[in-house]
Symmetry: none
Subunit: 210 residues, 2 copies
Amino acid sequence: MTSLHVAIADDHAVVRTGYRRLLELEPNVSVVAEFADCETAYTWLSANHADILILDLSMPGRGGLETLRRLKARVPTLKVLVFSMHGAPAMVSQAMQAGADGYLTKSSAPEALIAAVLDLGAGGHPLSAEAARALGEAGNDSQAPHQVLSPREFQVFTMLAQGLAVDEIAARLCVSAKTVANYQTAIRQKTGLSNALEMFRYARTHALLE
Amino acid sequence: MTSLHVAIADDHAVVRTGYRRLLELEPNVSVVAEFADCETAYTWLSANHADILILDLSMPGRGGLETLRRLKARVPTLKVLVFSMHGAPAMVSQAMQAGADGYLTKSSAPEALIAAVLDLGAGGHPLSAEAARALGEAGNDSQAPHQVLSPREFQVFTMLAQGLAVDEIAARLCVSAKTVANYQTAIRQKTGLSNALEMFRYARTHALLE
DNA sequence: TCTTCCATAGGAAAAATTCCCGACTTTTAT
DNA sequence: ATAAAAGTCGGGAATTTTTCCTATGGAAGA
């Protein structure tokens, strides 16, 4: 079996070196390139050959996801293993839709990285347990706010999620603060989001704001 | 010269292994322990000896900064090198005040980690360029949270900014909910941030979280 | 038409927040 | 070394916000 050519994209030099040393313990794996930003990675991989790219999504250059998309469009044969800090359902789901071939969280054991690379080389689609669970969750949002909330409630929800106070919302909608407070209570109960910050996060990850 | 005994605390196993391999290239350095969370680190270091702790502030177990403080109180001879994802001025300043002996950002070159460890062993206080610059800046922002807030207030601030409820914070800090509520009031007054969402946004744009 | 859902809001109770204060400890300055 | 200042912690009371329950009128649907 011929050796797997791996490229690493991560903005932290120390972390890159860590991966490299780890991977080079494996005889069938050789690290052929390292990148500190998305543009460099894209340019190099368009011109040179690698079998697998280990990609940290939280990179500068704005848009690891976007780079992933462009890269898969340009070099479809490249296998991309996303290696991210967090395993948020939305992130995993976004990454897989953008064309990732595997998803590992950084909390995985070191051996898991090697295993995932070998798995990818063999045509597999390695997911960490965390990522797999997240993918499962992503589909079932049957109780999304736009489903369970009435139009007016949803409108108040978006304003709360933007950080507006009850009084301000009441002023803008020209209704009593009492009414808005009551909506707020209903929204909290129906969605389980118990404060404005949770609403904000939910709204952001589900792209419910502008 | 006798060997430097180094301990590593970082919640990502892969990253820990990377540091270890890197450091073990140096003959005068030996890695004597690894920890994935703050409590384990604290317990072990209270009972065993190490010269240097490499500490990732963004660890679970609530409060890398708090652990740093406790650790320096318990084991003053221990040198702590904070190794953080980002070099936000506020974070650097808080870490140094909490007793860190050095501060490196993860974007540093791998050699910088080794150099910093050796420097620490020789009694130095290594700062990455980024961190040093941040320390300089920290003086300017005269009404930034880390300036106007006391350590405890700042701690509560970060938790509020993460969306934790007053009761949850009280439970984690083992103080009365009344106390936390009072801190919250003080924080709101001092910073002008009147709710958790504003605190979150502020904390995010100033990179004060994790 | 009759039922159901929605938008609106008042009242009362419960919970959270604010404001003021005191005790005690640690740090800082003189 | 001692005084002053700052920090931590929480109680009490007043205030504000939130919850829960209820009610009215309108619109949509069977």
